[in-house]
């Protein structure tokens, strides 16, 4: 491809602006000059718009690619097409109502977002969670991680050209969604965790349903490995592509499997255990070179670790309460309201106003499927937070995309975007 003609005209209009296409990238020429190489302005290289409506951008990511033939000279991501204002909406909701919004941040791993948010509120308010609730949280969080990785595997392979992976992974994903539906009533937007515990106890056949997953999944994972692991086409497209080194990955603030693919051993579950993750024995898969294939391997190996954690948690699942007995935070059981005046008052206060959190600021991080998902809450002492901010792993991972895609071929861009496993709901929030 030796097309030297630019995809869209760059000309200096009286306002000194460039209309990059008929949609939106209205940036001044000076700003554009800083982002692309000088050759783009002479027409020597081609500027190509990719997205926001593109099947391989995992939603509404937009990339401005500068191409010399088929080689990518520079890549300018343009995000914000799914900006939802979740952080602002949190300011108008009390702490319990805020849980609902967190589902919609990373919609592939809603329970992990719930876990991060309730963890932050629990830290702020200072409540302890019963051990049974913690174990159930761990089981569901690991199932959610597998759910997230399954969607990643299906779409990533679909982008690169392995069409059938998508059909297999979505078949298995339905099994996980059935579990979520069993416990919460919703397939995706579960909102199952509450501050101080869980919404309700899991049904009786929950353990059997999860054990069924443990029985079926190893075989299914083996199928995936047969399809991709040593597949020469797959390796041709992934090995040595989109390399990012250890130091660069840390500097860009990458976390999760994208960072571990570069060989940095950082997993929040190990580093700062939350929700009794330190009770379980598991290892953290690491890559070495930091290319697309290593990131793929890290995520695939995490499937086995997730299964291992779930198995241990099921074996040791204790009986007991599923929500804290701190009545200032968790509502009293229904039967108590009938005879206890104090319980009735607590119930009324919790459902009308919500509980008051002490004034202060906390940051709580969990390991999501994408990386370190953190929640920062600033409280002014009232029932509603002053500010809630989400540290989105996808945002920081995506920030490294220009670095990873420099010098790559244009066909590899979709592979690299897929390998950092972004979810745009989380990038834009």
């Amino acid at each position: 491809m030796t097309v030297a003609e630019p995809q869209f005209q760059i000309e200096e209009s009286p306002q000194n602006t460039v209309t990059a296409s008929d949609t939106q990238l209205d940036i001044t020429l000076d700003q554009l000059k800083k982002l692309v190489s000088p050759r783009a302005l002479t027409g020597d290289t081609m500027l190509l718009n990719m997205g926001p409506q593109h099947p391989s951008t995992h939603g509404v990511l937009r990339l401005l690619l500068e191409l010399d033939g088929e080689t990518v000279i520079s890549c300018v991501p343009d995000i914000g097409f799914l900006h939802t204002g979740i952080e602002k909406t949190h300011e108008g909701k009390n702490y319990t109502k805020g849980i609902v919004l967190t589902d919609r941040i990373d919609y592939l791993a809603p329970l992990i977002c719930n876990l991060a948010y309730v963890g932050a509120v629990e830290k702020l308010v200072g409540v302890d969670v019963p051990i049974r609730a913690q174990y159930i949280r761990v089981i569901l969080a690991e199932l959610t991680r597998m759910n997230s990785h399954l969607v990643w595997l299906g779409t990533h392979a679909l982008d690169i050209g392995a069409m059938s992976m998508f059909l297999y992974t979505f078949r298995e994903r339905e099994m996980l969604l059935d579990i979520f539906e069993l416990v919460s009533g919703a397939r995706m937007m579960t909102s199952y965790f509450r501050v101080g515990g869980l919404w309700r106890d899991v049904p009786d056949h929950f353990v059997d349903a999860v054990r069924n997953i443990l029985k079926v999944f190893p075989q299914r994972l083996l199928d995936y490995e047969k399809l991709l692991r040593e597949n020469p086409l797959w390796k041709e497209r992934t090995v040595g592509v989109g390399v990012i080194g250890r130091e660069d990955a840390i500097a860009y603030g990458m976390t999760g499997p994208s960072l571990r693919g570069s060989g940095v051993n950082y997993d929040v579950r190990k580093a700062m255990p939350y929700s009794s993750y330190d009770h379980f024995d598991f290892s953290v898969p690491l890559g070495s070179t930091g290319d697309v294939y290593d990131r793929y391997r890290c995520r695939m190996d995490e499937f086995y670790q997730s299964l291992k954690i779930i198995e241990q948690a099921l074996d040791r699942l204790p009986n007991g309460p599923i929500v804290t007995d701190n009545r200032k935070v968790a509502p009293p059981p229904k039967h108590e309201i009938a005879y206890s005046m104090e319980s009735l008052i607590h119930h009324f206060k919790l459902w009308t106003e919500g509980f008051h959190a002490p004034e202060g600021e906390v940051y709580h991080a969990v390991e999501s499927g994408k990386g370190e998902f953190g929640v920062f809450i600033s409280s002014d002492g009232g029932p509603k937070p002053r500010r809630v901010h989400f540290r989105a792993p996808s945002l920081c991972n995506l920030q490294a995309l220009p670095h990873m895609s420099k010098g790559a071929l244009i066909a590899d861009i979709v592979g690299i975007v897929g390998s950092v496993d972004i979810v745009l709901g989380e990038v834009d929030r």
């Binding site: 008929d22 949609t23 939106q24 926001p52 409506q53 593109h54 099947p55 939603g59 509404v60 914000g80 097409f81 799914l82 900006h83 939802t84 204002g85 979740i86 602002k88 909406t89 609902v100 919004l101 919609r104 919609y107 592939l108 969607v151 779409t155 998508f166 059909l167 297999y168 979505f170 078949r171 994903r173 339905e174 397939r187 995706m188 937007m189 745009l424 709901g425 834009d428």
Partner: protein
């Protein structure tokens, strides 16, 4: 009695042009491959193994608006995305239909704030609203069947 026997007896089937065109249009809808947020994942599930949307004659999702006639707005539409969405809609050839999938696309859903368009019907005319956050795949399929009914009944005067 099946159609073949009728044909054997009479040789021809008479129908109105409206009905024939409506029947043909409704069973060959080409949706646009275009996901926005959470609902897009359920839309993918609808096409994937368990639910298999191709049973209803619409397995072919097109990534280009110029080849498609159904836009499934799957997810919340931000103010930044709104002009892009309208642009895509304008590029689709007539006749075209829009399904607002999910609460956010229908009315803004839980996001009553500065960033989200309060219902995609402010930008494009919507034919079918599918409720749910996100709607189950069955709900989306039901919405599509509702749309097929609507297309079948579309009068001649509405043709573009």
């Amino acid at each position: 009695m099946g159609l073949e026997q009728k044909l054997g007896n009479m040789g021809v089937v008479t129908t109105s042009l409206e009905q024939a065109v409506g029947w043909a249009r409704s069973n060959a809808i080409w949706p646009m491959l275009f996901g926005l947020a959470c609902c897009a994942i359920e839309m993918m599930s609808t096409q994937a193994s368990n639910y298999d949307m191709s049973r209803f004659g619409m397995e072919l999702m097109r990534a280009s608006p110029r080849q498609s006639d159904l836009m499934i707005v799957a997810g919340r539409v931000s103010r930044k995305m709104a002009p892009v969405l309208r642009n895509l809609y304008d590029q689709m050839p007539d006749p075209k239909w829009v399904i607002a999938m999910g609460d956010c696309a229908s009315c803004g859903g839980v996001f009553n704030n500065y960033a989200v368009v309060q219902g995609v019907d402010e930008i494009v005319p919507v034919d079918v609203y599918v409720a749910g956050c996100p709607p189950r795949p069955e709900a989306l399929i039901d919405g599509i069947l509702k749309l097929q009914d609507k297309i079948k009944k579309e009068p001649l005067t509405k043709w573009q």
